[in-house]
């Protein structure tokens, strides 16, 4: 559909370019104005030409009619032969031949007279008497010697010419009532009019073309700075913060350029300031995490020494040693998570991608979390497809992520079974971790990946998570160009679904596993 293509191209051009629209509108409006002016000119010139010619025609006719009537009245023919020959001289005397400005003559006998027609009606050789309308003839007969005329179409040499028929009654002695008709060809006037119209159309088109060209150049001149501004703001938006508009002159465009540049300048300085602030902050978090490590090492070593020798201590001191030991571990986990998230914030994380069997990674994560699950009485039910589920991943991060999801499920699962499912499709692999515990409200689900956010601050924390686990998990997922999604309902449980592309850069639109997951199978079904 070539035409449709061209049309849609034109429409898109029209939509996209202000200039195309401006030129198009100018040309259309000018075209309409020119058509009105041209039409009026053509009409009045035509009218003028016609009325001049008509006056001339009527004057000529008047003269001719008077002349003919006088000729007959003054004649003294006594027989029909002489009359006939006299009549025959009438036509050549007043007709004028030729293809332009011709005047044809017909002397016709009025019908309906008592005496029969004996004489031949003389008619110009190339005149077809049927062009004389019968209505005109009856009007001529009814007239009291006045000239009657009507516009008609003449066929001359295959072409249609405008014409006028003028008629008047003539009394011929011996022969009775006759009608004299003069048929004028107005072709030369028509040709003049045609020429004028052609000139008008041609001139109009040239004018239109020039208007189009002028409006193109004028709008181009006006639009160019605007287009440049649009281009530059696009580049600014894409991050090229040092782009500016050229500032020339004192006109409105220069004012636009100056204020645009001022805006870009303040935007740039604010963004750079923010970026350096955020970089400083990331650097600070990273430095703090590092600096804390050396004293923490000493504390940890000391704590472990005390913990190892706790049996020799008095009960309160022994308990203190145990608490300290646990809290040092928690502190260390927190520090590690802080450092990890600061690495992500600094954009310093690079995935170490390798082909891995997701089933194996899931197995490792479950093995790592098994002691915790046992202590909470949560059974972990696994549903994995047959055969290896290969995907490119950073297995250390994915295992950590899954361990984290499992730890969350155990913490909020209230000792009920936790189901882990693995799914695979052409382009993606997925894992869901589902518990049947306390679940979450809609508002809680929205915040679940926020840093240090806790579902219920009043809830007793038992597993000692750092509050950064899911935030890091989400970053790990983004590192793989994957999805980490959550479904939850209060008192029904929660389900986290991780979907990863099988190869880096693979595009997937659907996860191989549903979320929320299929209803739990009854025990023993599997």
């Amino acid at each position: 559909m070539r035409f449709r293509g061209v049309a849609s191209w034109a429409i898109s051009l029209f939509r996209r370019y202000l200039q195309v629209r401006a030129v198009f509108s100018t040309v259309v409006i000018s075209g309409i104005a020119l058509a009105i002016v041209g039409g009026f000119l053509s009409y009045s010139i035509g009218g003028g030409l016609f009325s001049t010619r008509q006056a001339q025609v009527l004057a000529e006719s008047e003269r001719a009619v008077v002349e003919v009537q006088n000729t007959f009245s003054a004649s003294s023919v006594s027989n029909e032969v002489a009359l006939q020959s006299l009549m025959n001289t009438i036509v050549p005397s007043i007709e004028s031949t030729g293809t332009t400005n011709s005047r044809r003559v017909a002397l016709l006998r009025s019908p309906g007279q008592a005496t029969g027609q004996i004489l031949q009606s003389p008619i110009s050789a190339d005149l077809d008497p049927t062009v004389i309308p019968t209505a005109l003839r009856s009007k001529v007969r009814a007239s009291a010697g006045n000239l009657i005329y009507q516009s008609i179409a003449l066929r001359v040499a295959g072409a249609e010419h405008p014409g006028i028929v003028v008629g008047a009654p003539v009394q011929i002695p011996l022969a009775g009532s006759y009608e004299l008709y003069l048929v004028f060809d107005l072709n030369s006037e028509q040709q003049t009019l045609d020429f004028v119209q052609r000139t008008l159309v041609f001139g109009g088109l040239i004018l239109l073309l020039m208007i189009g060209a002028i409006s193109f150049f004028v709008t181009d001149w006006l639009v160019r700075p605007v287009r440049l501004a649009a281009e530059v703001s696009e580049q600014l938006a894409e991050g090229a913060l040092d782009r500016r508009l050229p500032e020339r002159g004192e006109d409105i465009i220069a004012i636009l350029a100056r204020s645009f540049n001022k805006m870009a300048q303040s935007l740039q300085s604010q963004i750079t300031q923010l970026a350096s602030l955020s970089k400083m902050q990331q650097r600070f978090v990273s430095d703090v995490s590092h600096e804390l490590r050396t004293p923490l090492t000493t504390i940890k070593l000391a704590g472990d020494m005390i913990f190892a020798g706790r049996e020799t201590l008095s009960p309160p001191v022994k308990r203190s040693a145990e608490l300290m030991h646990d809290q040092i571990e928690r502190f260390e986990a927190l520090l590690n998570d802080l450092l990890e998230i600061s690495r992500y914030d600094a954009g310093a994380v690079i995935a170490d991608l390798e082909m891995q069997d997701l089933n194996g990674v899931v197995g490792m994560a479950i093995a790592g979390i098994e002691p915790l699950a046992m202590s909470k009485g949560s059974e972990i039910l696994i549903e994995i497809p047959q055969g290896p589920v290969d995907a490119e991943m950073d297995s250390r991060r994915i295992e950590r992520l899954l361990r984290n999801l499992l730890a969350n499920a155990i913490e909020h699962g209230e000792g009920k079974p936790i189901r882990v499912a693995v799914g695979v499709s052409e382009s993606a692999v997925a894992v869901t971790v589902t518990d049947e515990g306390v679940g979450m409200t809609r508002a809680e689900v929205d915040r679940v990946f926020d840093r240090f956010w806790r579902a219920d601050p009043a809830r007793k924390r038992t597993t000692g998570g750092t509050g950064l686990g899911l935030a890091i998990s989400l970053e790990d997922t983004h590192l793989h160009d994957g999805w980490l999604q959550v479904w939850a309902k209060p008192n029904e449980g929660a389900s986290f679904r991780l979907t990863l592309p099988r190869r880096k850069g693979m595009v997937f639109t659907q996860s191989p596993l549903p979320l929320p997951p299929k209803k739990a199978k009854k025990k023993g079904d599997a």
Partner: protein
């Protein structure tokens, strides 16, 4: 006879605490608190193992490591605060045998130290092992190419011996970590990669095109070609 360990760290509390932990495990300990003078201290003490902090005033731990390695094959374990930066790789390339990340467990620290002080893996066997143009004298801890003696650290010798004793068997990095470093559950392949590179630079004619220790893509390493 207790092994002597030189602890080089600028943090007084940590240095003393590490000393307490090591002494309680039966090691004798010497200390040094800066990068400058660490080599002199090493020469004066001639320890069996060096614990070396990466961040030291005066001279970085990496430079100290390179200096010690230039004169001795004594095991060096780096103490580092970063795991993902270049510190680890730089330290290993400078000749460190192993590293521990702060904050570490006393158990982990002593396990690593013991692994490095243990008699070499497979060294109970006697006689010699031949691999390519090289001859390994197991008892003498010596490697010769013809009459020329090649100087390897105990760890490099242990790595080469592990590979050479089972020629054409492909060792995964995890297997080598367990056999040579005494690790379980550690997947830090950098340790293996860097040491294989160092080993190759000493024994291969063209380290970029190795003939003695070859890489089996996606699996690991083996001794010999084919």
């Amino acid at each position: 006879m207790s092994h002597k360990i030189l602890v080089v760290d600028d943090d007084n509390a940590l240095r003393e605490m590490v000393g307490i932990v090591l002494e309680s495990e039966g090691f004798s300990v010497a200390f040094h608190d800066a990068g400058a003078g660490a080599l002199e201290r090493f020469n004066a003490e001639s320890p069996d193992l060096v614990l070396l902090d990466v961040m030291l005033p005066g001279k970085t731990g990496i430079e100290v490591c390179r200096e010690i390695r230039a004169v001795s094959g004594t095991p060096i374990i780096m103490l580092t605060a970063k795991t993902e930066s270049d510190d680890v790789v730089l330290g290993l390339e400078a000749g460190a045998d192993d590293y521990v990340v702060k904050p570490f467990d006393p158990g982990v620290l002593t396990a690593r130290i013991r692994a490095r002080l243990r008699p070499l893996a497979g060294a109970s066997a006697e006689g010699t092992v031949k691999i390519g143009p090289l001859t390994l004298d197991i008892e003498g801890h010596e490697v010769r190419r013809g009459a020329e003696k090649i100087s390897l650290t105990p760890l490099e010798f242990s790595l080469l011996l592990a590979l050479a004793q089972k020629p054409n068997l492909v060792f995964s990095r995890a297997m080598l970590l367990e056999k040579v470093w005494g690790y379980r559950h550690n997947d830090d392949t950098r340790l293996v990669n860097v040491h294989v590179q160092r080993l190759r630079s000493k024994i291969e004619d063209d380290p970029d095109n190795p003939k003695i220790v070859t890489t089996v893509r996606g699996v690991g390493y083996k001794a010999g070609q084919g």
